[in-house]
Each structure stands twice: as structure tokens, then as C-alpha cells.
């Protein structure tokens, strides 16, 4: 075989030598690929066919043969796994050696089962008495759920296809050309020279055709192997095959970045508002009450009626401070939501709203607290909208949980024409929902009715758990 590092000779002959060397090298690679691509599937195919043939042959006189066939069939998936993994390992070695492309081995490491105090083995899912069994269960589960395993299986098929399309035809050209030329040479040698002039001419022609076909094979092999390398790289390297995945993730990251910015921004604004309200409201009032109490102390003996008057004032101030705190708390997290959850909180909203509001709730348990709060404030906003913008008489709110989605529909019989562009707070609702990957859809033809549907992916927690450790 010609080594690939042929010193470049000058001129036409040198170029020809290089070309032939590259062709021969590529042909050798074609041969290796062809062997590799046929060996694995061949073994698996005969394994399956043999087991099935024995089993489908009907009851065998010798039970042991049937048993062996059955075991063989049962073990076939394991065979597929090993063959495909070995096949990929060989391909990765070649990718490095032939193309200088390093494709990492990314198979998951199989976790080790842990033993509990009773001596049972825990796999992370369930307990087993035998360490062996636990290990096998872990192995099978890890391997079956490892995307790399399935990539290997796909490559076993893909490699076969690549060999059939690229490597084997190139190889066939070379072999066919070589055989054609060799046969003519043998003819000449065995006949000790030319037998007939006309035949001689024909033989020479055939010999030349053989050489041309050999040349064709040498010419075709390198581009075919380049294509094969491209194919292999794409199939085996998730970083290349994951281009689509990458695009999806990029989009997802962009989405998360915007929604996070929105969430953080609105959180910060909320906190500023709360700080302002506390500072200018309850805090200031408490200061005033303290001052009044000081004055009362001073007046207690000298002017009891005035002290009594001031006491009444102080009590009034404390009541007002409480009222302000209560409103503030309702804005942060409505107490009824903390105490009862979304369904009843929305019912309470409906009772306080100006229009007749019918609430239907179908929630088996409570959603997570942040989702609950977001949903509550969105419904609150929508009810306010229905009153303010569409002058509705009747509103229907439907809350239900299906297939991991919290779906809330708010319908009103107002005059419709709602649109996010019209500054009705719908944009804010969308942003609020966006933080949780929720979405809002709107149908509001002029003349009504308006139907707004909000969907939020969420997980339901166990019912009646505390979501607030604060006393409100």
C-alpha cells in the first residue's frame, strides 16, 4: 500500500503519483468502511433470523434448542446495543485518524446503586434486594434513556447506507477495473504472446478499458470518502447534528432573557412602590401616633380633656394606618389567596366586582404560589377591564386545570373591540404570564362578546398547604 505521505515530486509525474496515492489511500478506506458497515448488521441480521427461524419452525423436539433461540431473541436488543456502540467507537477512531475530527465519547456514566440501612439497593427509583439486579436495572434504564445510545443505533443504519452509496461503488470500480485488466494480462501470459492479431487488439482494448476503470475508481474514491467523512461527522457529533436543537435553544434563551428582564423589572418597581407606601403611609402615621402619645403623657395631669381628645385622635390614626397596611398587603399578596387559593380568591373578587360575575372552578389542588398569584392578578385586571372598557353586565370566569396547563377563560357580554394595542393592560398581563411561559389569546369582535383565554403551564401542589409564612 502507498503511504499517504508521498514526497511531492515535481512536474507531471509527481502530480500523477500524488493523485494515485491519494486514490489508493481512499480506496483502502473504502474497503475498511465496507467491511465495517456490513459486519455489524450482518451479525445482527443472522442472529435475529436464526432465533426467529428456530422459534417459528414450530415446537422443536429438543426443547433446549428452542430455549437457546428464545434467549437469543431476548438478548438481541443487548446485541444491537453492543454492536452499535462498538461500531460508533470504530467510526470515531477513524474520524480522528482520517479527517482529524475529534468526536467526543458522550455516553452517560452508569450510576452506582446505593445501599440503605436495611441492606436494600436503591436505584433512585426503587429498591432491590440484589445488588446485581439493581445494577442491571440501572444499566438498562440509563442506556435506554441515553440519547447517545440511539445516535449509535442510527449510525449503524446510516453507516450501512453511506457504505452502500459511497464506499462500495468506488471499491467496485477499482476491483472491476483491476479484474478486467488482470484477466487480459493472464490471457497474454498464459498464451505466451498474442494468439491472433485481431484478438490481440481486442485484448489490448479491454486491458486499456480495465486501466481506465481503475483510474476512475482512484479518481472517485477521495471525493466519496470526503463525503463519507462529512456524513459521519454529522451523524456522530451532536454539536453538528444539534444545529436545529441549538437554534431552538438560542431562541429559548432569548425568550427567557426578555421575560426575566420583565419579571425583574416589574419586581423592582413593585418593591419601590411598597417601600414608598410604607414610608409615606404607615410609618409616618406611627411616628405621628408616637408623638401624640408623648403629648398625651404630658397633658395627662394638666389638661385631661385635651388628653382624651388626643387619645381619640391617636386611635383614629392607628386605624387609618392599619387600613393602609391592609390595602398594601392586598396588593402584594391578597390574604384570601393565601388562605384559600386561586378558586376562592377569584370568587371573592367576583363578589366585590360591580358586574354580575359567575365563577366556575375545577382545580383538583393548588397551583404553585407564584403561578397562583400571577393568575389572580391577571384575572383581577381582566375583571377591572370588563367593568371599565367594555361596560359589561355579566362576566363568566372559568378556571380549570388540564394536562399540566392552568386555563382561565374570562368572557364578558360587553361591546368588545378589546386589543392589546389599545393600552388596556393586556400587554402587562401578557408579560406577567410570559414569565411562566404562559400565553394569552383574545377574541373580541366589535359588538362583543369578549373572550380572553390565559394558559399557564404549572404543577399542582398538594391541597391546602400554606404558601405564606407571614401573618397578614
Amino acid at each position: 500500500m502507498v503511504s499517504p505521505s508521498v514526497p511531492a515530486a515535481g512536474g507531471w509525474a509527481g502530480r500523477y503519483r500524488e493523485w494515485a496515492a491519494a486514490g489508493l489511500l481512499a480506496q483502502r478506506q473504502c474497503l475498511q468502511v465496507a467491511v465495517q458497515a456490513t459486519a455489524g448488521p450482518f451479525v445482527l441480521f443472522f442472529w435475529a433470523v436464526a432465533s426467529l427461524a428456530v422459534l417459528l419452525d414450530g415446537p422443536n423436539d429438543d426443547l433446549r434448542i428452542s430455549l437457546v433461540a428464545l434467549v437469543g431473541l431476548a438478548a438481541w436488543p443487548a446485541g444491537l446495543f453492543w454492536v452499535s456502540r462498538y461500531n460508533s467507537a470504530v467510526s470515531k477512531r477513524r474520524a480522528d485518524a482520517w479527517y482529524g475530527v475529534v468526536i467526543a465519547q458522550r455516553h452517560r456514566t452508569i450510576p452506582v446503586p446505593t445501599q440503605d440501612e436495611r441492606g436494600h439497593w436503591w436505584t433512585g427509583h426503587s429498591y432491590y434486594r440484589q445488588r446485581r439486579v439493581a445494577e442491571s436495572v440501572l444499566f438498562v434504564r440509563e442506556v435506554a434513556s441515553d440519547p447517545e445510545t440511539w445516535r449509535d443505533v442510527r449510525w449503524l443504519v446510516g453507516n450501512g447506507a453511506a457504505a452502500a452509496v459511497l464506499a462500495i461503488p468506488s471499491l467496485a470500480l477499482l476491483v472491476f477495473g483491476a479484474v478486467t485488466a488482470a484477466v487480459q494480462l493472464l490471457e497474454v501470459y498464459s498464451n505466451r504472446g498474442f494468439y491472433l492479431a485481431t484478438e490481440g487488439l481486442d485484448q489490448i482494448l479491454q486491458f486499456v478499458v480495465g486501466l481506465v476503470i481503475i483510474g476512475l475508481g482512484l479518481a472517485v474514491a477521495p471525493p466519496a470518502m470526503r463525503l463519507y467523512g462529512e456524513w459521519m461527522h454529522r451523524a456522530l457529533d451532536p454539536q453538528v447534528s444539534g444545529k436545529l436543537e441549538k437554534a431552538r435553544l438560542t431562541k429559548r434563551v432569548e425568550h427567557l432573557t426578555t421575560t426575566r428582564a420583565d419579571a425583574v423589572g416589574s419586581q423592582a418597581a413593585e418593591l419601590r412602590r411598597i417601600e414608598r407606601d410604607l414610608h409615606d403611609g404607615a410609618q409616618a402615621r406611627l411616628v405621628a401616633i408616637g408623638m401624640t402619645l408623648g403629648t398625651i403623657e404630658h397633658l395627662m395631669d394638666s389638661d385631661p380633656p385635651a388628653a382624651r381628645q388626643l387619645l381619640a385622635d391617636a386611635r383614629q390614626s392607628s386605624a387609618t394606618a392599619l387600613q393602609e397596611l391592609r390595602d398594601l398587603v392586598r396588593g402584594i399578596h391578597p390574604p384570601v389567596l393565601a388562605e384559600r387559593g386561586l378558586g376562592d380568591a377569584v370568587r371573592a373578587l367576583a363578589l366585590d366586582s360591580a358586574q354580575n360575575t359567575e365563577v366556575t372552578v375545577s382545580l383538583p389542588a393548588r397551583p404553585e404560589a407564584p403561578v397562583e398569584a400571577a393568575a389572580y392578578f391577571c384575572v383581577s385586571e381582566l375583571l377591572a377591564n370588563a367593568a371599565k372598557h367594555s361596560r359589561a353586565q355579566q362576566v363568566w370566569v372559568d378556571i380549570l386545570f388540564r394536562a399540566g396547563q392552568l386555563r382561565i377563560t374570562v368572557t364578558d357580554d360587553g361591546h368588545g373591540g378589546a386589543a392589546p394595542e389599545r393600552g388596556s393592560g393586556l400587554r402587562g398581563i401578557e408579560r406577567r404570564l410570559g414569565t411562566f411561559d404562559g400565553a394569552l389569546s383574545l377574541s373580541s369582535p366589535p359588538g362583543g362578546p369578549t373572550t380572553i383565554t390565559m394558559e399557564l403551564p404549572c404543577v399542582l401542589s398538594s391541597p391546602r398547604t400554606s404558601i405564606s409564612s407571614e401573618k397578614a
Partner: protein, 217 residues
Amino acid sequence: MRVVLAEDLYLLREGLIRLLEAHGFTIAAAVETGPELLEALLEHRPDVAVVDVRLPPTLTDEGLQAALAARRQIPALPVLVLSQHVQQLYARELLADGTGGVGYLLKDRVFNAEQFIDAVRRVAAGGTAMDPDVIAKLLESRARSQPLQCLSPREREVLGLMAEGCSNSAISARLTISDGAVAKHIANIFTKLELAPAEDANRRVLAVLAHLNGTPA
């Protein structure tokens, strides 16, 4: 009068105990959690229970639930519920069985000792004590309904006070009008709302509340 008290904040609990004892009540039990409250109510069968809505362990509406559960087992057990916020929803649940003997007040009403003690006594006597905030909201949400619109402003004031659970004399004191005038207003209100007149003051209040709640009395 024997009282069972449920409040998880130490300061408030002590304050309430002192206030109630100063006005001649006996504290049968003072508890901190929902399950303890239900137990105490069933064991002591007090003349009146004073209950905070939000109690441990869950810090949800445990107090309210315990009170409602106790009333299911001991019908018309007088319960006065205190909360940092008042909800029509909770008021409706307390009034739902229509037997009276319920109160629902903001915690700050305790500041005004006379009014608070009056409310406790009223509930213990089988009357009602509804927070003005609840009644205001009720009236607000019913304001557009036909019957309420034909009431005069004065009649509406009387209706509000009556719904809170005030007696005729209390209403006359609050509005500084004569007892006779109050009785006349109430008769008019009952005519305009098409309610059957009831002799018993408590039944009368419940009828009004039921009407406002939009639930059949």
C-alpha cells in the same frame, strides 16, 4: 359567660383575655391552632367562641374552618370570627346555615372595647355582628339592584346598621333619631324589599342579610 378564644399571636391573645376578663367573661380555653380549637369547642361548649381566621399549622383559614366544623356538630354555636381583612366570601359561609349567632369583624374593632364587647354579647345571644366593611361592600354590590334603589338615603343607613346586627336602640343611638323613627324606617324597608316581617330581632337581621347576599332566607 364562658369563652373559648383562638388566636396564635401571643400579644393579641393576652390582650383579648385581659379585655374579656375585665368585662366579666370567663376564659374556658385559649388555644393557638385549628385542631386545638375544634377540640376545645367540642369539649367546653362555650357560650361564645372568639376565633382568629388564620391559625397554625397551615396559616390558611384554619380558624374559620374549625368554627364552621364545630357549628356543624353543635348547631348555632355562637362564633365571633376576627380577621385582618374581611371578605364577603367568608361572611356568606358563616351566614350560610341561617341560624345566626355569628359575628365577623376586623381585628381593629377590638380597639373600641365597648363596641367589641357589645358584639361578643350580641353573638352569644344568638344575634349577628357583621363588620361595617362587609356590609358596605354588600350594599355596594347590590346597589344597582332594583329594590335597594327605591330606599331613601336614611333607610339605606338604617338597613346597613341593621345588617351589621345593631338592635333598634343601638341604631337610634348611632343615628340620633328616636326609637319610633327607627321602627318606622325598618317597617318601610321590609315593605320595599318585600320581606316577611319578623318579630324576633335576630330573625329580622338574618332575613336582611339573606336578601343582601342574594341567597334565599
